[in-house]
């Protein structure tokens, strides 16, 4: 089941039509969302977020996250119905070394305007579908008493 989830996530991420949003929280409690470049390698529980700006609010919040063990979330989507939500923690910030240099050199070709500042290694804690229909179905099953009465009234 878990491997199937990873495969679905990777398939979605690998689709060039897909997009990713990262959500982080600052030390002041203010949330930040941003369009994100996130890639995977071969380890099933790891994702790599490529940061282009040292002083972006997301980079600042990720620093806070790794210092104080705060979760972050990703939303990977392709259209309205193919959406996966990922809960993760930042476990490492690669600012030098071979992994960083590999992504830096790749970015020189694919995004020459952007200067890669760091590669955040994220450990996946949980993967879940974020399709509204799936979530409503889950919610109805888990909390059957939370419903407006008119919806179950005799017509």
């Amino acid at each position: 089941m878990i491997l199937l989830q990873y495969k679905a996530l990777w398939d979605l991420m690998d689709n060039p039509e897909s997009g990713t949003v990262i959500a982080t929280v600052g030390s002041d409690g203010i949330p930040e969302i941003a369009e994100a470049t996130v890639v995977h390698q071969t380890e099933p529980d790891r994702l790599y977020y490529l940061e282009w700006m040292e002083k972006s609010q997301t980079n600042i919040n990720l620093t806070t996250s790794i210092w104080f063990d705060r979760f972050i979330k990703l939303l990977v989507f392709n259209g309205r119905h193919n959406i996966i939500k990922v809960k993760a923690v930042a476990v490492k910030n690669h600012i030098s070394g071979q992994l960083f240099l590999n992504y830096y050199n790749e970015a020189l070709k694919s995004k020459p305007r952007f200067d890669l500042t760091g590669v955040w290694e994220l450990q996946i804690i949980k993967i879940e579908s974020a399709n509204l229909a799936d979530e409503v179905e889950w919610h109805e099953a888990a909390h059957p008493g939370m419903i407006h009465l008119d919806r179950i009234a005799k017509s």
């Binding site: 030390s27 040292e54 600042i60 620093t63 806070t64 790794i66 210092w67 104080f68 476990v91 490492k92 910030n93 690669h94 600012i95 030098s96 070394g97 071979q98 960083f100 240099l101 830096y104 050199n105 020189l108 890669l116 760091g118």
Partner: protein
Amino acid sequence: MPVKLLTRPQELSLIEVLDKYPDFPYLVALKIDVQRRGVHYTEAAQAAVNPAIHQLRSPYIFGSRDGKILDLPESLLLRDGTTILTDPTPLEQDPYTVDFIDGRFALVDHGSVLEYVELWPKPLYYDKYTSSGIPMKHIISARPQRLNVMQNSYCHFWADDKGCRFCDIVNHNKQQKEEKGVPVKLNPRDVSETVREALKEKGRFTSFCLTAGSILKGKELFDLEVDYYVETLKAIGENFSTKKFPSQLIGSAFNLRQLERLYNETGLTSYTSDIEVFGESVFNWVCPGKAKWVGYEEWKRRLVDAVDIFGRGNVGTGLVAGAELVQPGGYKSEDEALDITLSEAEALAQKGVTTVYIVWVPRPLSIFKDEQNASLEYYVRLAQGLHDIRKKNGLSVDFDDYRRCGNHPDTDLSRTI
């Protein structure tokens, strides 16, 4: 060389400090404590070092805590990208241990693994030679994201027997020249060639740091030192398409004319002149040469002058934190030292000068060799205090941050502003 066994007074441990200051990041506190106590590399760790990919100890302006120049790892990186600049330290001084466990380097304290760490990666140019036949690693040394150019390793304050009491620059560089053949003064041609080679490794470096011993000679005090910097900076600049390139110069307290010359004639973008300790009487005792030739108030005035030229957030001064507590000339308590230090840093910050600190370690070839540095709690409070002052005054410290330098716990905190 005999090593003094240090006996520390009762002080809070790492865990106790973190309990007391829960908003202070564990990784930065750990960095401070590792810098404070030093490291010892186990046999397993030494065996796992791969000189093809790991950077071994390079020429540096100051010596090691064990007084030796050995082929040990240069230093460590924590998982958040924090750099730890730390020296091999005699076991008698209770250092942290770097071991090799389950295929990874680990930072260990009294048997407990605290963190897995990376060794600094070796840049490709380290294996190259200049056309004059000098190893390029002897011309420019590297940090994870920075190039260090130490153009001249003799300090004229020493000739006058007034070297800073914590400093070992002349003794260390004599040792470095004798044992490793490191040149005492760099040729700008060698510097330019080495920069050109270093830049071939794309993504490897973000800035330069130039520093050297003070040179008192010239028509005006320090003129010759400025001449050398201008010459070296111009040689570096040959490699860039822009007039300015990210760079820091840590030099003597230059006058306005000298500062203007550095800014106008070179690609230099920031200026630092280390006052070392705050408070005039302690400064006079710890830094007798700086006190005699420039003076405490004049040193600060020149820093403020530099803001007009380099701009707010591009001028700094450094403290050798802990040296201000050495007796008999230093402060009598950590509280007193903190009060004066933070109040002086605030006054400078209001005028656009930022203050950073390094964790002072007693080096065996310095006058303060038998002393000991401050408590972890002191360094944590100092880091937080200097960071808060920057935040309050809206001062950035981009040129001296965790990746462009990596040696200042207070600027590690400023990653979040």
